[in-house]
Amino acid sequence: MLSFLPPLLDGIERKIRAKIQSRFGPPTPLQTWYDLLKLSVKELKIPLSCESAAFLTMLSLIVALFSLYAVVYATLTLTTNIDFMVLAMFLVLVAASHSLSLAASATTSNPFALVGSYRNVLLTILNELGLIVGSFSSLILGLKLATHYSISTLVAYLLSLAILVVATYVSSGRLPFDIHEAEPELASGTLIEFSGKILAFYIYSHLLTRYVLSLLVAIALVAPLITFFSSFLLVFSVSLVFSTFSYLAYGVVATLLGRTRVDIGVKTLFTYYLLVLIVLVIFTWIGI
C-alpha cells in the first residue's frame, strides 16, 4: 500500500498546484500512476554510454524501496526509547538513494546531466548534514519531550524540527531546490538521457524518496505525542496522516517559489543552518 501512495500523492499535489495556477490540471489524481505505467510499457532504450546510469537508477530504486520499509519499521517500533540502529540504517539508505541518483546522472556523457549533477553535489553534501542532525536531534528531543516536558526541551525540539523540515524539503528536490533538473535552463538536466522504462523507474524512485522524507518528518511530529497512543497501529496511522499533510504542504510551498541558483541556494541553506545552530548554542549557554 505504501509503495502505491507516493505517485498518488504526486497526482494530488499536481491537482492542487493546478488549482493555485488557475488550471484544470491532470484529469485524475491517479495521473502520475498512469504516466508511470505508460512509460513502463514503452520499449527499453538505453542511450549509448548510458548503461551504467541505467544500472545505477535501478539500484537507486531498490534502495529507495528499502528506505521506505526501514522508515515503516521505525514507525512501527517507535517507543519512548529510540532504536538508533534503525534510524542510522534509514539515513544511510536515504543518503545512498541520493548518491545513486547523482551517480546515475554523472555517469552519462550529456553535458546538461553533468552540469545538473555537479550542481546537486554541492547542495546534497551540505543538506545531508542538516538531514542527519535534524532527524537525530528532533527524534531524540521529541521522545524526551513525551516523557519529561520542559521549556528548554520544547525550544530545542522546535529548532531541531526546523532543521529537519528544511533538510527534508531540500532533499525532496522541490522548487527552489530543483536546480539539478532546471528544465528551462538545462533541458531537464539529470533526466535528459532517460526515457521509457528507465525514466519511469527514475521518477518512481524519486517519488518514493520524497515520500520517505515526509514520513520522517511525520515520525518527528508524532514522537512528542507517543505516550498518547495505545497501539503501534495508531502511531502508524497518525504518521501516515502527518506524512500526507507534510508531502502536500511541501508541494504547496513549492508552487509559490521560483528556482534558486546554485550559489544562492547553497549560501542560503548554509546561513539558515548556521543561524539555527547559533540560536541553539545561545539557548544552551544561557541555560534555557
Binding site: R17, I20, Q21, S22, R23, L48, S49, S109, P111, V115, R119, L175, P176, D178, I179, A182, E183, P184, E185, A187, T255, L256, L257, G258, R259, T260, R261, V262, D263, I264
Partner: protein
C-alpha cells in the same frame, strides 16, 4: 563654407542638432556631396563613397545620433549602380538623416563598423546578398549558408527566385550520406538549449558556472521575404510583412505601410491612425505579458507564468474583438486600414482594460517579490549605458540601461501625438531593469488605449486614392514591443522596388554577448531572453576541431552518432 551652403543647411535642418551634423559633414566633404534634400522629417544627402567614412568620423561622437538601419539596393538597371542608404536618427529632434551612397560596380566602400558597431551586420549582409565590397574589415558569410555558391547574390535584380531554387540546394543531405548516417531523425535541439523555443545558437565559454565569454551564431534560416516582396503589389506586401513575426506582426505591416505612405506622401485619415495605434498597443500588451510569463518560467516560477498567460488571454480576446483575429490581423493597407472599430465594442474594450490593469497589478506585486525571482533578476545580465549607446540598441533593452529611446515619442507617428504617456527608463542595466521597463509599459499601453478609444475621431478609414511613383525613398518606423522596427522602401510602379526590414532583435542581439559575460550559467537563458529576442526556425550545431582549427556545421544527430561510433 559659402553663404549659399550655409543658407541651404539653415533651410533644410530641423533644429540645432541636425544643423550641426550637416555643417560638419559639409566642412569635411564639400564637393563630395552630390545632393541635399529634405522631405518631412527625413534629410537625405547623396555622398560619394570615398567621403562617407570621413563624414561619419566627424559626426559619430555627436550626442544622440545613432545608427538606425542601412539598406543596400541594386539599381544597376535604373541608374547603372548599387546604392547604400545609411539611416541615422537624431532622437531629440525626431530627424532621420539618410546618406545615399552610389557605388559603381567594383568600387569598395570604406567600412564604418568601427565607428558605429551596430553597422557590422548590415555591411556583412550587403556583401552577402548584393556583393558590395567593404574596405578595412574582414568579410564573411552572415545570412547565407556556408555552402552557398560563390558569386550568386540573391538580392540582385538579375537573380530571380526561380534561379535561386535551381542553382542552390542545401548540401546537408549529401553531407549526411558521406558520413554514412542516412537513417537519421532530425531533433530540433541545439547543443545548448536555453529553452527559448526558437532557433538560436550561443556558444558559451564557461569556467565552473560562470560565463567568461559568449558568441552568437544566427541566421539559421533566411526566408527571403524581402526578395519575395519585390514581385508583389503594394497591398499584398502587408500580409507578407505581418508574417515576419508571430508576435509583433502588426508592427511590421504598419512599418511597411508607413514607409510607402512616407515615400508617396499619402494622406492617411485620422481614424485609421487611431485604429493602427490601438492595435499596436494591444500587440505590445500581449507581447509583454507573453515575455513576462516566459521570464518567470525561466526562473522556475511557473505559477507566475500561468497567471501571466491567463491574463494575456484577455488581451487576445480583445484583439479578436477589435480586428476579428487573435493574431495576424490583416487589417493594414497602404493609405489606411481595412476594418473599423464599431461604437458598440467600446464599452467591452474599456471593461476588459480595467480588469486587465487590476489583475496585472496583482500579478506583478506578487511575482516580483518572490525571493528567487528578485534575487536572480537583480544585478544579472548587466548592459552598461555606454555599450547600449555604442551598439545603437533599441526598445526595453536600451531603456533598461538609462536611454529614453522610444520611436513613439522621438519620431512620433500614427496617433501617438494625441496621447499622454511616459517612457519608462531604468538606469541599472540589469535583467530586473529590463523587466520593470516592460511592466511599466503594460500600464502605459493600457492608458494609451483608453485615451485613444475616448478620442477616436469619426471619418473614413482609408485614403480614397493614391498614385505610385518610381524610385522614391520612404522610411517607416514603429516602436515594437522589443524596440523600434525600421522599414525602408524604394518605390516602383506596381510594388516596392526594394524593401529593407530591420527588426529590433537585429540591433539588440549584438549586445547579448556583453550581457552574458560574468553571469552564472543558470542565468544565461534569462539574460538572452531579457532582450525578448525573435529568431526563426531550426537549430544547428558546430564542431570545432581543436587540432586543425576547422569549423564544420552539422546536424546534432550526426554528432551524436559520431560520438557513439568513437566510443
Amino acid at each position: 563654407m559659402s553663404n549659399v551652403i550655409s543658407e541651404l543647411i539653415e533651410e533644410l535642418s530641423r533644429g540645432p542638432r541636425s544643423r550641426a551634423v550637416l555643417s560638419r559633414v559639409f566642412s569635411v566633404c564639400g564637393d563630395s556631396i552630390l545632393d541635399l534634400s529634405r522631405r518631412g522629417t527625413t534629410i537625405k544627402m547623396v555622398i560619394k563613397p570615398g567621403c562617407l567614412r570621413a563624414a561619419l568620423e566627424n559626426i559619430y561622437k555627436e550626442h544622440d545620433l545613432y545608427f538606425r538601419t542601412m539598406a543596400a539596393s541594386d539599381e544597376r538597371f535604373k541608374e547603372g549602380l548599387t546604392k547604400l542608404y545609411y539611416v541615422f536618427g537624431i532622437d531629440s529632434e525626431g530627424t532621420n538623416i539618410v546618406f545615399e551612397v552610389p557605388v559603381v560596380n567594383g568600387i569598395k566602400v570604406d567600412t564604418i563598423s568601427d565607428l558605429f558597431r551596430a553597422s557590422d551586420w548590415y555591411e556583412l549582409e550587403a556583401h552577402d546578398l548584393l556583393g558590395v565590397e567593404f574596405n578595412g574589415r574582414p568579410l564573411r558569410r552572415l545570412v547565407l549558408p556556408e555552402d552557398w555558391p560563390e558569386e550568386l547574390y540573391p538580392l540582385r535584380k538579375d537573380v530571380s527566385v526561380d534561379d535561386v531554387k535551381k542553382v542552390y540546394q542545401p548540401q546537408v543531405v549529401s553531407r549526411i550520406s558521406e558520413l554514412g548516417v542516412e537513417e537519421v531523425v532530425r531533433i530540433p535541439v541545439g547543443p545548448y538549449h536555453p529553452a527559448l523555443h526558437e532557433p538560436e545558437y550561443f556558444e558559451l565559454y564557461v569556467r565552473g558556472e560562470k560565463v567568461v565569454d559568449a558568441k552568437y551564431v544566427g541566421f539559421m534560416v533566411h526566408r527571403g521575404i524581402e526578395k519575395l516582396a519585390e514581385s508583389m503589389k503594394y497591398d499584398q506586401v502587408p500580409f507578407l510583412a505581418e508574417r515576419i513575426c508571430g508576435i509583433c506582426g502588426f508592427v511590421h505591416s504598419t512599418s511597411y505601410v508607413q514607409a510607402v505612405e512616407d515615400a508617396l506622401e499619402i494622406e492617411v485619415p485620422e481614424r485609421a491612425h487611431f485604429i493602427r495605434s490601438i492595435v499596436l498597443e494591444v500587440e505590445r500588451l500581449h507581447s509583454h505579458l507573453l515575455w513576462l510569463g516566459v521570464a518567470l518560467h525561466l526562473l522556475g516560477y511557473d505559477t507566475g507564468f500561468m497567471h501571466a498567460w491567463r491574463i494575456r488571454e484577455k488581451v487576445m480576446v480583445l484583439a479578436e474583438l477589435l480586428t476579428g483575429s487573435r493574431k495576424t490581423y490583416g487589417i493594414d493597407l497602404v493609405g489606411g486600414v481595412k476594418k473599423d472599430i464599431d461604437k458598440d465594442k467600446i464599452p467591452k474594450v474599456k471593461e476588459t482594460l480595467s480588469l486587465l490593469k487590476k489583475e496585472f497589478k496583482e500579478l506583478v506585486e506578487v511575482a516580483i517579490s518572490v525571493p528567487q525571482v528578485k534575487a536572480r533578476l537583480t544585478g544579472t545580465g548587466i548592459l552598461p549605458r555606454g555599450e547600449a549607446r555604442a551598439y545603437s540598441l533599441v526598445g526595453p533593452t536600451v531603456r533598461g540601461s538609462g536611454l529614453a529611446r522610444d520611436v513613439r515619442k522621438d519620431y512620433t507617428y500614427a496617433a501617438y501625438h494625441y496621447v499622454s504617456f511616459k517612457v519608462p527608463v531604468y538606469t541599472e542595466g540589469d535583467n530586473l531593469a529590463r523587466t520593470l521597463v516592460r511592466v511599466d509599459e503594460v500600464f502605459e499601453s493600457i492608458s494609451i488605449i483608453e485615451q485613444l478609444i475616448d478620442m477616436l475621431p469619426s471619418g473614413p478609414i482609408r485614403a480614397e486614392k493614391w498614385e505610385p511613383q518610381p524610385m522614391r525613398l520612404g522610411i517607416g518606423a514603429v516602436e515594437a514591443p522589443r524596440g523600434e522596427v525600421v522599414h525602408v522602401v524604394l518605390t516602383d510602379l506596381y510594388g516596392p522596388y526594394r524593401w529593407r526590414v530591420r527588426a529590433p532583435t537585429y540591433q539588440n542581439l549584438q549586445a547579448v554577448p556583453i550581457m552574458l559575460r560574468g553571469v552564472d550559467l543558470a542565468d544565461a537563458p534569462l539574460t538572452i531572453a531579457s532582450i525578448d529576442p525573435c529568431f526563426s526556425c531550426t537549430d544547428r550545431a558546430i564542431i570545432i576541431n581543436l587540432r586543425s582549427g576547422s569549423i564544420n556545421t552539422l546536424p546534432i544527430e550526426v554528432i551524436s552518432r559520431r560520438v557513439s561510433k568513437d566510443g
